[in-house]
């Protein structure tokens, strides 16, 4: 079997198994209790602890050398305009650069220029990647914020506004959320891209497929609950509020689909700290992006700066003294005795 096929089947199988665990497990009383009252706490704790542990593990390691990657003009002479964000020389510049990366995925945007031929706009593959990545992450943020409706009573005003904007087209009942559509679309684009592009097939690991399938599983199960199964939101809210209050109460009306969704989300929470999904924390610590390019203006200290063996001037002069004399180059010490007495 080809490597890609094997990897895809393995990861798909793993996700399916997790979903099934939730789906079927909820049919048993013990399973239901475990899934609803135990697993989420463990998962959340794992997420919190794991995330902190990973970030701390990175943060504890020093940054010995000042190695930002500069894009654009440096800040040097006053009359040359510097690229204050792409090549920042101040902390504010770095903050702006980081914001550009985190909110707009600036580096991913840097790929091939989009070109107009006639009236057609040609987006290179990597601009599409940028668009897909941006769409996914923002849609995910909106969805996460909307889920606050389930955990907070009364529902905060901004969540209501968000839902209004999200469902602005008022399509269907319950109204179709744009964020749902965008999230699904972006995930499908990513999956298709990873399967179809031979370069990506070559470099992908089974964990890459697993992450995608997991997210797709969560998205699909969540959307199915909202648009097709029409799950009872009040029951879900009752449950959510109860686990936040550390007094889990599991309404009977919560069906297996809900538990599948819950199982997948819990799996994601546990998986995240051990995976590449930690890039969300890592980016802030990347020395090529989070340092100002003021390397010659301010001294960066290496905490473990170790002394090294060099060839000193005295040793050099010793070795080449006669050549130096012959060439008439001034010496520190006219002869070896003077050198050693200095």
């Amino acid at each position: 079997m080809k490597r890609t096929t094997r990897d895809v089947l393995l990861s798909l199988g793993a996700v399916a198994a997790l979903a099934l665990l939730g789906f079927e497990g909820s049919r048993l009383e013990a399973g239901r209790a475990a899934l609803a009252a135990f697993v989420p706490y463990v998962a959340f704790a794992a997420l919190l602890a794991g995330f902190c542990w990973r970030v701390l593990a990175w943060a504890r390691v020093p940054v010995p050398f000042h190695i930002p990657v500069s894009c654009g003009q440096q800040c040097s002479l006053r009359w040359i305009r510097a690229a204050k964000i792409d090549n920042p020389s101040t902390r504010w510049g770095v903050a702006a650069r980081m914001a550009g990366e985190v909110f707009l995925f600036r580096s991913l945007f840097r790929n091939q220029r989009a070109r107009m031929t006639g009236s057609r706009l040609i987006l290179g593959d990597c601009r599409l990647l940028w668009l897909g990545a941006l769409a996914f992450h923002w849609a995910l943020l909106v969805i996460l914020l909307r889920h606050l409706r389930l955990f907070i009573e009364p529902v905060p005003a901004f969540v209501n506004s968000l839902e209004r904007i999200d469902g602005v087209f008022q399509l269907g009942a319950p109204p179709l959320y744009l964020s749902d559509l965008i999230l699904l679309g972006a995930l499908v684009y990513w999956a298709v891209r990873r399967f179809r592009d031979p370069v990506l097939r070559y470099i992908s690991l089974s964990t890459d497929y697993f992450a995608l399938f997991l997210l797709l599983g969560i998205a699909i199960s969540g959307m199915w609950m909202r648009y097709f199964a029409r799950v009872d939101i009040l029951s879900v809210k009752e449950y959510a509020l109860s686990i936040t209050a550390l007094h889990p109460a599991i309404p009977q009306s919560l069906g297996p689909l809900f538990f599948a969704h819950l199982a997948l989300v819990s799996a994601l929470a546990v998986y995240l700290p051990f995976s590449k999904l930690m890039h969300m924390g890592g980016i802030f610590l990347s020395p090529t992006r989070n340092l100002a390019n003021d390397s010659r203006a301010r001294r960066h200290v290496n905490p473990w700066n170790i002394p090294v063996n060099t060839h000193t001037y005295a040793e050099w002069e010793d070795e080449f003294r006669d050549k130096l004399q012959g060439a008439g180059i001034p010496l520190e010490a006219e002869d070896a005795e003077h050198a050693h007495s200095n």
Binding site: V63, I80, R113, H311, F320
Partner: protein, 540 residues
């Protein structure tokens, strides 16, 4: 007539990059370091060996050494640890490396080059990798993996182009540096890095030129500069009490076309009456230690500050060199500083305080000269460069470690009437490497260099065809050494020159005699056309 030559493709892993098999073919590998160089520098396992042999004579506990070495560096370098963890395999970097674009070798994709290291990291340093190596992308560390590392980490010029496009800035140069450091621990290094390093350690410069040789070269250049201008140009060596210590790459006083850049420096310094000295001890601005290990870099760089202190200068001026400036700008102060015995650099001619260099106390000559030109302190006649139709190649390190982009352009546009830029996505921070940096600029891997330099050459070809460009200007000594070969193969008819060669051409020195030739001895365009007009008139 045979219609198909037998197809022998290099053996590719059957769809699985984890197979480490590589074939060391002529033209795509560098010779191993000579034992004497390894021993002189105090590095482990000096011995006679070559990559094409099957037995690399590694120390018996090589595996433990490598893994311990990784563990140590994971503790000491946040970049290493982070870059091992956060790659999401989005593929944005894949087609950005010049070696990949020229060779179609998939392991030259930056993501794959990193995976060569990451796969070992996962297997030995992560829980998922220890428990499920196959699924998590881990693999066993075998001798074949070491060979593969040697092959690919000496096929990266540490140009950092990939890092520009990565959403997190994952820097393959960092990973390559770690890889080379680890390989050093078991004695796998290349001669083209270690021999210059050993030379530089001993004599102060990569070429191993001893003080009298240095003086001869400098005096020769001073004499030629005097002859060209009819003035008396002298270059002090090891002069105490000078205001500025000038440090340049050794190729500037020994190589072509670097030598013409040197003439340019000398003319400029003479014209502005710069109170400077060069040093026979700090006779190398470049630092091949950068291509070996952080420790080697620090050892070789110490001499610059030491000499500045000994000579009692106020600040340091650096010449046109690429990797030298990566070291000066990002490492020197940290490694060899603080340079409290120096002052914040101030141009003695314009009074400009170089704020951006106030800690390291070292200024790039393009910053210095651009400042002079901006203040109108030197007289220039750009018509003297009319025979050149120039374009500018941003060298990797000034572009991506500093952002020194506009200063050389400003100078070029002031000394050249004909200047054209190459396409946007091949210059500035997106510049394509020459394919020969980081110790790879040797003749035994010429085919690899020509492949790696193809994207850059292709862009030059474009401006040659479109605008008749016949000169590629750059500010890197390795570029000047290797771009001529690249041009001769891909874009014949394009010469290579330093920015300060063109400055030297255009500079109108006070009291100089009439210039009829450029610094290369070629007749100036104005002179040539005047001569043609004169001979036509005499024939009429």
């Amino acid at each position: 007539m045979p219609n198909t030559l037998i197809q022998i493709e290099p053996k590719q892993p059957a769809g699985d990059w984890r197979d480490p098999h590589v074939e060391f073919r002529k033209g795509a590998m560098c010779y191993s370091a000579a034992a004497k160089n390894v021993a002189y520098l105090g590095l482990p396992n000096p011995r006679a060996w070559q990559p094409r042999e099957s037995d690399w004579k590694l120390p018996p506990d090589w595996k433990r050494i490598i893994l311990d070495g990784m563990k140590e560096r994971l503790r000491k370098y946040r970049s290493f640890r982070l870059f091992m963890d956060i790659c999401v395999r989005c593929g944005a970097c894949a087609d950005k490396c010049h070696f990949y674009l020229g060779s179609a070798d998939t392991k030259n994709m930056p993501v794959m080059r990193a995976e060569l290291m990451r796969s070992i990291y996962r297997r030995y340093f992560t829980w998922t990798g220890r428990l499920f190596p196959g699924m998590a992308g881990g693999r066993e560390l075998t001798e074949d993996v070491i060979k593969e590392w040697f092959y690919y980490f000496y096929q990266c010029t540490e140009c950092r182009r990939c890092s520009v496009f990565c959403p997190y800035g994952i820097d393959t140069a960092e990973i390559t540096m770690m890889g080379r450091e680890l390989l050093n621990l078991i004695g796998c290094n290349i001669n083209w890095v270690l021999e210059p390093a050993a030379n530089s350690f001993r004599t102060g410069n990569h070429l191993g030129i001893q003080p009298h040789g240095f003086k001869d070269s400098i005096d020769f250049a001073a004499e030629e500069a005097s002859e060209i201008t009819g003035l008396n140009i002298e270059v002090p060596i090891n002069r105490k009490g000078a205001e500025v210590l000038f440090v340049m790459p050794s190729a500037d006083y020994f190589g072509t076309p670097h030598y013409f850049t040197l003439l340019g420096y000398l003319l400029l310094f003479h014209e502005i009456g710069l109170d400077y000295t060069v040093s026979a001890y700090a006779s190398e601005g470049g630092n091949f230690g950068l291509f070996s290990s952080h420790e080697m870099m620090k050892r070789l760089n110490a001499k610059i500050y030491d000499e500045a202190r000994r000579l009692g200068v106020k600040w340091i001026l650096g010449g046109e060199c690429g990797h030298m400036w990566r070291v000066i700008h990002q490492f020197m102060d940290t490694m060899n500083g603080p340079a409290e015995f120096l002052e914040a650099p101030v141009s003695p001619v314009t009074g400009t305080v170089f704020e951006n260099a106030r800690s390291t106390k070292m200024v790039h000559i393009c910053e210095f000269t651009a400042d002079l030109i901006h203040h109108g302190k030197i007289k220039l006649d750009p018509r003297r460069n009319d025979h050149w139709i120039a374009t500018y190649h941003d060298s990797c390190n000034p572009a991506r470690a500093m952002g020194l982009l506009e200063e050389p352009r400003y100078i070029l546009k002031s000394v050249c009437n004909h200047f054209y830029e190459m396409p946007e996505n091949t210059i500035r921070e997106q510049t394509f490497c020459c394919g020969s940096g980081a110790g790879l600029g040797t003749d035994e891997n010429l085919e690899m260099r020509l492949r790696g330099g193809y994207p850059r050459a292709n862009a030059v070809k474009h401006v040659r065809e479109k605008h008749g460009v016949n000169l590629l200007a750059c500010i890197c000594a390795i570029d000047k050494a290797t771009l001529p070969t690249l041009m001769e193969y891909w874009v014949p008819g394009v010469e290579v020159a330093g920015v300060h060669e063109l400055v030297g051409n255009a500079l109108v020195l006070t009291g100089e005699k009439q210039r009829t030739n450029d610094l290369r001895g070629e007749p100036l365009a104005a002179v040539a056309s005047a001569a043609t007009a004169a001979s036509e008139a005499s024939h009429a």
